[in-house]
């Protein structure tokens, strides 16, 4: 915990424009949080007692199965809220998903009472929350489309591009890439080798360099 940055609301345009009266509980009830990378935000069975708004940093939400297989569902960045904790909070439902910070994260936490107060008070706040719900739902449906129907080649190419985010270098292991797309390490290794043979990437230990993004983008569309 630390002092809240008074400007944190700028990360949430939808909330910043709320009328003074509605916004009051946000200012008075929110607690600033700082978490290092690797902090667990949500895990099945763990109690969660706050509504979390991400100000800076990134959170990865993923599923694990009994055999240790992993698949990334979506990521939260600045301006996002953690729907998983929210739903767990309100519906006291247990999910088989995990949420973990990937980088140091600054966030604001609203106690349940404050959250309920805002939900009752502000249509704008409600629509902000619903918008976030809708976005996460769309994320999950995109994941389903991918794992059910898309080829490894296209899923891997697409993921490399989004993870690179405009840059040309990634620090990531084949195992981690496999977890990103819900596949196996060997499969990813072989596919990366194929990309390398075609000159699309070059590989190093724990490193993937994008050398030619155009054909990767083409492959991602298939």
């Amino acid at each position: 915990m630390s002092l809240p940055d008074p400007d944190w609301l700028k990360q949430f345009p939808a909330l910043a424009t709320m009328p003074e009266g509605e916004r009051a509980p946000l200012a008075s009830g929110a607690m600033a949080m700082n978490a290092p990378a690797g902090t667990t935000v949500y895990a099945p069975g763990e109690p969660c007692n706050a509504f979390i708004l991400v100000i800076s940093g990134g959170v990865r939400v993923y599923q694990l199965d009994a055999d240790g297989n992993e698949i990334v569902l979506y990521r939260l960045g600045p301006g996002s809220i953690c729907i998983l904790t929210t739903l767990a909070l309100l519906a006291s439902d247990a999910y088989s998903a995990f949420a973990i910070t990937e980088t140091p994260v600054q966030a604001m936490a609203l106690p349940v009472a404050t959250f309920n107060d805002l939900m009752a008070r502000s249509a704008q706040f409600r629509s902000f929350v619903f918008g976030a719900q809708a976005a996460r739902m769309a994320d999950l449906m995109a994941v389903i489309q991918n794992v059910a129907f898309a080829s490894i080649e296209s899923r891997l190419a697409a993921r490399l591009l989004t993870l690179a985010g405009g840059g040309h270098e990634l620090s990531i292991t084949h195992q981690q890439l496999a977890a990103e797309i819900g596949s196996a390490r060997e499969v990813v290794s072989r596919q990366l080798k194929a990309f390398e043979r075609r000159g699309w990437v070059s590989l190093g230990r724990g490193r993937v360099e994008l050398r030619n993004a155009a054909p990767l983008r083409a492959a991602a569309g298939r």
Copy 2:
């Protein structure tokens, strides 16, 4: 459209216990609907302008991809609300999913204004909506677990059991079963043949009879 059954609220225990004052818009604003089997409830791009509460019948929500591949996401029964239309309504987001009635459906439709009124007025209504959100989110995560990591054998066995719902006979084609689990018809045909050889089911044109549920349940757990 038809006259609302005055007892329809009984299908929604969470709403029926709302205080008189909060419940008023439900009674005054809701419109009864009757739809035959095969009616489209939601499709991408179609405008939707009501919040839908299912009183009787069933709705199937599924995804299609460009090649015509299909996968069932979840089903809605009596007491459920259509989160898809709700989110599309509130977040004006486009989903790649379809919702269609499988049997004749009786439902109540709340205009957006009434829905917003209830959301503003009743904490109980809000928590009902959140509970439904949470349940659908859990459904989608279960689908992801299945398509990403579970074998065809276990997915098919599990689906046969839930579709039969305690009965021992299903009227369904192999193609439809494939769409249920997001696989291919040939794969389902071969797996069903294997089940038949083991004496777990017996097969007919458009028909699957469960002859021995115990090993199916065992296989579903793997």
